[in-house]
């Protein structure tokens, strides 16, 4: 696109720069605004009198002596026990990512190396499962889980999330494995490796970028899930997202909506770091399925 014949005329350039600026504001401003507002009291962030109160923090200064306050964070993390939810989220996400990747790499590798018809059918079944909204399965879980006392435990939720993520993980890893030449494991097998040894010692070491990308998306699916975690976890061991939702239902009294604001900011922070460190992988993952098709 760099050739001189393709130079964009100035008016188009201006329009596109304005458009990008507008999009940047739309994408970033809501988050900046919420972070800023989370250090204010409710009367400032939700100001009836004057919206500029949220900027200056008049009421915050009156109540706490400074225009920034961490009462909202203190209230949600300590008083309402958001730290428990944060730990639960960490446990769930790490376990889901590890188990998903173990199951997914084994399955995805086999699918990419098999030309039998049943391999195709397994992929199609995964595609169909991917299309079903997770909430439609929840009513199928509840009865047996109550019957066998499995309901409400982190372990149950973890394995359910792994299974729900499997179709997506399988497709993504399958397309990553297909890019790795088959000659690589063939020659390893000629040298006397078993199929599993070829997979473990030869293919996985060159697959790291694909494994990291898929791991990121499994992480996001587990981290962002609301439908399954809110239905399958007991109140005491909710993860962050259902915990935030429970703030909305119960704490409508003055000042407490700020607990939800502070929790939302706290739950967004790890995602922000994730984008900082793994932007390249996320972009690669998003385009993975598409470029192939």
């Amino acid at each position: 696109m760099a050739s001189s014949a393709m130079r964009t005329p100035w008016y188009l350039q201006t329009v596109s720069i304005c458009f990008i600026a507008l999009w940047l504001v739309m994408a970033a401003f809501p988050f900046l605004w919420t972070v800023w507002g989370s250090f204010k009291v409710e009367l400032d962030f939700f100001s009836i009198a004057d919206w500029t109160n949220a900027l200056t923090g008049v009421n915050t200064a009156q109540e706490h002596g400074s225009s920034f306050t961490d009462t909202a964070y203190h209230g949600s993390w300590i008083q309402e026990g958001f730290w428990v939810a944060a730990i639960n989220t960490a446990i769930v996400c790490v376990s889901v990512v590890c188990i998903s990747l173990i199951f997914g790499t084994l399955g995805g590798y086999a699918l990419s190396r098999s030309s039998h018809r049943y391999a195709f059918w397994l992929l199609i079944a995964a595609l169909i499962f991917r299309a079903m909204p997770p909430i439609t399965l929840v009513s199928g879980y509840l009865l047996p889980f109550f019957q066998w006392n499995l309901w409400g435990h982190l372990a149950t939720t973890i394995i359910v999330l792994v299974a729900i993520n499997q179709p997506f993980t399988l497709w993504m890893l399958h397309s990553f494995f297909q890019k790795i030449p088959k000659d690589l494991d063939e020659s390893a097998k000629v040298d006397g490796c078993s199929q599993f040894q070829a997979f473990w010692h030869v293919i996985i070491p060159v697959m790291w970028p694909g494994v990291i990308t898929t791991g990121l998306f499994s992480f996001l699916l587990a981290y962002n899930d609301f439908a399954v975690t809110s239905m399958l976890l007991a109140k005491e061991n909710h993860t962050m997202v259902p915990k935030i939702a429970s703030f909305l239902g119960t704490t409508q009294t003055e000042g407490n909506v700020m607990f939800a604001v502070a929790s939302v900011v706290s739950a967004t922070a790890p995602l922000f770091l994730l984008v900082v460190f793994f932007q390249r992988h996320i972009v690669a993952g998003l385009t993975q399925g598409a470029v192939k098709g």
């Binding site: 940047l24 739309m26 994408a27 299309a131 439609t136 399965l137 009513s139 199928g140 047996p144 909305l248």
Partner: protein, 341 residues
């Protein structure tokens, strides 16, 4: 790969999908044709000096025994599907007969919970999907003409709306658009109406949810289209220029056909994801004005008494909806496979 090796490699993933997706699906279908037992009532007559009184009490022992022996409940066939809470056949027929016009008929349908949820879900799916495609395409084309350092920054910030949990994203927007929030105040100022409240109006709530949907989904199409633009054949663009094509013609006849497979891919994924719209309804607290099929199921399940049968029937109907929506794509995949042999 040998059958045997294939089996052991795919066993964990196949087992996970079988036990936690396929079996629950079967269980959902079975539950949707059963309903909990009614309590067994015993009528007893007490006769005293002032006449006889009849009392009806629940026979707890018999009821419990019945529940234990048949935990699924009693078989009711398609009754749950056809009742007022779901497809509401009788109500629809009555509404059809008594309606004076088509508009009137649809207004009556809107009082039935499932049809209300379906109306919003379909509107959401079929407005958000095209808007996000167009919006993402425009961002991709604009970003493509920026210099390298700016590109990285724009991509960084663009990922945020997509990557945050839908519940968190919708809450962030909801608090801004609240009548006491910054966007809410701004809208009141523009409309010159200090009483304007987005969450009090059905129309504005729908618009707000759709704007949220586009905001959340546009980064995805942007990233995919942007990657597609990087592989655009340069010679083709130059030779079209030599042939006298203008910028607009180049976009229509070269860029768009080049991106077409990506458009199909993004559309497919978005149809699936928008059809399951759920968290925004909770985040925007909009159930008075807009509900979705997923929210409808969630609502049945989250009450004090979990209405499993009702939720199962709605789940089956939702899955049927997804199947109808994606049937064209599946048929095409099947044909491609047949051609390949």
């Amino acid at each position: 790969m040998k059958h045997r090796t294939f089996f052991w490699f795919t066993l964990p993933t196949a087992l996970a999908m079988l036990v936690f997706i396929a079996l629950p699906l079967a269980s959902v279908i079975i539950q949707s044709v059963f309903t909990p037992h009614e309590a067994v009532l015993v009528e007893s007559e007490n006769c005293g000096p002032f006449g006889c009184t009849k009392t009806t009490v629940i026979d707890q022992d018999v009821s419990a025994a019945l529940r234990a022996s048949e935990p699924l409940g009693r078989f009711v066939g398609l009754d749950i599907y056809l009742d007022r809470g779901h497809l509401a056949v009788n109500e629809v027929a009555a509404a059809w007969r008594s309606s004076t016009s088509v508009g009137n008929f649809f207004a009556k349908l809107n009082n039935l919970p499932l049809y209300r949820a379906m109306a919003f879900t379909l509107t959401y799916t079929f407005t958000v999907t095209p808007f996000m495609l167009v919006f993402g395409f425009i961002i991709a084309v604009s970003v493509n003409s920026l210099n390298r350092y700016l590109k990285g920054m724009v991509i960084f910030f663009s990922l945020l709306p997509m990557i945050v949990s839908p519940l968190i994203g919708s809450l962030v927007l909801f608090w801004m658009v609240d009548s006491r929030g910054i966007l809410g105040s701004f809208l009141q100022w523009i409309a010159n109406d200090p009483a304007l409240s987005v969450k009090a109006s059905t129309g504005l709530t729908w618009v707000m949810l759709i704007v949220y949907g586009v905001w959340h989904a546009a980064p995805f199409s942007f990233i995919v289209f942007y990657a597609g633009l990087q592989t655009l054949p340069g010679e083709l663009m130059e030779s079209s220029q030599v042939d006298g094509a203008n910028r607009w013609q180049q976009t229509i006849y070269i860029v768009l056909p080049h991106l077409m497979p990506l458009v199909t891919f993004v559309t497919l994924i978005q149809l699936m994801d928008n059809f399951r719209v759920f968290e925004p309804i909770v985040g925007f607290n909009s159930e008075a004005h807009a509900t979705s099929l997923s929210w409808f199921i969630f609502n049945d399940l989250s009450g004090e008494t979990r209405l499993l049968s009702s939720a199962s029937a709605s789940s089956v109907l939702t899955i049927l909806g997804v199947a109808i929506l994606l049937a064209p794509v599946l048929v095409r995949t099947w044909r491609d496979f047949k051609v390949k042999g």
